[in-house]
């Protein structure tokens, strides 16, 4: 069954804040092998001009991965998650995330397109800090395999 294009443009915001912890940053950095002390030491981070330990690139996935779920899993959208693969991912930062940040997200379904047998869904998520400033914009593209309308009708 093809995805409901009426959902294009719909938005959702996270209910509360994700408080970024030092230990979580350290755990994430260690998991990917980011050994630089700026990802582990508050002193090193402050010496470099940051308020606290700096989160590595892609750390934002922790808050963005589920941010659009209220939209994507809305039964109105008709998405079958068993058919979904992660197609593309992009992060554009205005500043690094640091320990102590209180993050919230605002997500929007940007587009739904047919590409061959598949439908491609692009969502954009803004990651905001406590003052409402955008820290990072994440673009996520997922592929819904075999659900394009022409195929589904066969």
């Amino acid at each position: 069954m093809a995805l409901n294009r009426d959902m294009i443009g719909k938005t959702c915001t996270s209910p509360g804040f994700y408080v970024v912890g030092r230990e979580k940053i350290q755990e994430f950095a260690a998991a990917v092998g980011y050994t630089h002390p700026i990802f582990h030491s508050a002193e090193t981070a402050r010496d470099a001009g940051h308020p606290d330990v700096v989160a590595p690139p892609t750390f934002a996935v922790i808050v963005t991965a589920g941010s659009a779920e209220p939209l994507l899993f809305d039964p109105e959208f008709r998405l079958d998650y068993s058919r979904v693969v992660h197609g593309e991912q992009r992060f554009r930062h205005t500043r690094p995330i640091t320990a102590g940040d209180h993050l919230s997200t605002r997500s929007r379904i940007v587009s739904v397109r047919d590409v061959g047998r598949n439908e491609i869904v692009e969502t954009e998520t803004e990651v905001l800090d406590r003052s409402g400033d955008v820290v990072c914009v994440a673009v996520n593209v997922i592929v819904s395999r075999g659900t394009a309308a022409a195929e589904a009708a066969l």
């Binding site: 994430f28 998991a31 590595p56 991965a65 673009v139």
Partner: protein, 144 residues
């Protein structure tokens, strides 16, 4: 704060670097990222999903790509933007050696103090990322 600097020129190549990923790394990344999708730790689940076996999180491969770009620039906070297309899953065998992901790259554009780097990630099975880029901001205090 450091002042802007001139990035390396278009055509500058990044030294190819190998990163080893084992099943233990997938467990650790699952916990760190919150992605507990079973295809990243259970062969049974991976096979049921039509995969030959457990695969790495695509986001872990993306993190390795940005780590590679940051290590090249000498300033790990310099990667201000990154973008990847997940082209092929990374199979991770259940042994002590795991899989080696080879990263390479080249500066393809310079916009002010930012170098746009085209990144390539490969395993023995071929390329795993397509159209991968990182925007790396250069400042006067940076090395490399």
């Amino acid at each position: 704060m450091n002042s802007p600097a001139v990035p390396p020129a278009v055509g500058t190549a990044l030294t190819p670097t190998g990163y080893r990923v084992t099943r233990a790394d997938l467990v650790r990344y699952a916990g760190a990222s919150g992605d507990f999708n079973t295809i990243h730790w259970s062969d049974r689940a991976a096979l049921a999903a039509g995969l030959p076996g457990v695969i790495a999180h695509g986001m872990l491969t993306m993190a390795l790509a940005t780590r590679f770009a940051g290590e090249w620039s000498g300033d790990p906070t310099s990667v201000v933007e990154c973008s990847v297309r997940f082209q092929r899953p990374v199979m991770v065998p259940d042994d002590d050696d795991g899989v080696e992901v080879q990263l390479s790259g080249e500066v393809i554009d310079v916009i002010g103090d930012v170098a746009v780097v085209a990144l390539s990630a490969q395993t023995a099975d071929g390329p795993v990322l397509g159209g991968a880029t990182a925007h790396v901001r250069f400042t006067s205090a940076m090395g490399g």
